[in-house]
């Protein structure tokens, strides 16, 4: 009995915690994105090699970082869920997956839009874009597997196992794709991430990256809260808050 109450309590506590910090994070996120956009699009100087087109990195690179970060969050939560059967971890993983897929899609689309003027083609089998494409497949598989189960608890555990299998594979896939890429295309024209990026270009990039991260957190908290409500709909604390019209 204690375990059961304990689990309820932790969902309830998380609901309350997320309720308090989400507005603050949302405000901070909006400020960071606005300032980052302004500094990235207007203030940062033109790149002498790529011209203005380099400004795509201000959305491409944060999306690409987020696509990996969200997968790591999912894998981490999956491990916690499988080991300690902590339902909150499963909810966070479930809430994160569609957003991770969306960021992966953005990274692919903006990468392609950057590639057209740089490489002269919409799609180049570049190591980074290829890895990103495979990551998108992993996300789609994760969501499809979870959705295919009628029993949601079994679906959650199956998806968690798949996420862990995926996280073991991601470095291998990434390494093998890079290896394959150097094998078939010895001379790459321009590297996407120039190692020596000027500080005035770097600061907006970091601001955008942090803004994206907060954007994910705000939405993840909101979605997690919605899912907690649905799972706990018949418990007394949700009923009480529904009565007070304070959900």
């Amino acid at each position: 009995m204690f375990q059961w109450f304990h689990r309820l309590a932790s969902l309830k506590n998380f609901y309350r915690l997320a309720e308090i910090i989400t507005p603050w994070l949302a405000v901070l996120c909006a400020i960071l994105l606005a300032v980052g956009l302004y500094r990235g699009l207007v203030v940062a100087p033109t790149d002498y090699e790529q011209g203005e087109s380099y400004r795509i990195i201000y959305v491409h690179v944060p999306s690409a970082w987020m696509s990996m970060f969200v997968y790591m969050v999912i894998a981490f939560c999956s491990a916690i869920y499988l080991v300690w059967n902590m339902k909150l971890a499963d909810i966070v993983a479930q809430a994160s997956a569609p957003m991770g897929a969306a960021f992966t899609f953005l990274a692919l689309a903006t990468g392609s839009l950057w590639g057209k003027p740089m490489w002269g083609t919409w799609w180049e089998w570049d190591a980074r874009l290829t890895s990103e494409l495979i990551l998108l497949f992993l996300y789609i598989g994760y969501m499809a597997l979870r959705g295919a189960f009628e029993n949601s608890a079994a679906g959650a555990k199956a998806a968690a196992i798949l996420a862990l299998v995926g996280v073991v594979n991601i470095p291998i896939i990434h390494y093998s794709v890079e290896w394959w890429n150097t094998l078939h295309q010895p001379a790459s024209i321009t590297k996407f991430d120039t190692p020596s990026i000027h500080i005035s270009m770097l600061i907006p990039l970091l601001m955008m990256a942090l803004g994206f991260k907060l954007f994910y957190l705000v939405n993840m908290f909101s979605r997690t809260r919605s899912m907690i409500l649905e799972r706990e709909a018949s418990t007394s604390w949700v009923r009480n808050r529904a009565q007070e019209n304070n959900l």
Partner: protein, 60 residues
């Protein structure tokens, strides 16, 4: 301003990238809001059903 919008001849690529990002992120926000509404409605519906049942029990 015109120069800024032209993006040194890369206007299409740059603005499509930023526009697409904006659209996707807006979609994420809208779907978060939609999910929250759905959850609240479902909780209210279930609470109403439970209350009705409790009333019936009391009146019996």
């Amino acid at each position: 301003m015109k120069e800024f919008l032209a993006m040194g001849g890369y206007a299409f690529y740059v603005w499509t990238s930023f526009g697409l990002t904006f659209v996707v992120m807006t979609a994420i926000v809208l779907s978060s809001i939609y999910q929250r509404r759905q959850a609240i409605n479902s909780v209210k519906r279930q609470a109403a059903v439970a209350r009705q049942r409790a009333d019936q029990k009391n009146s019996l």
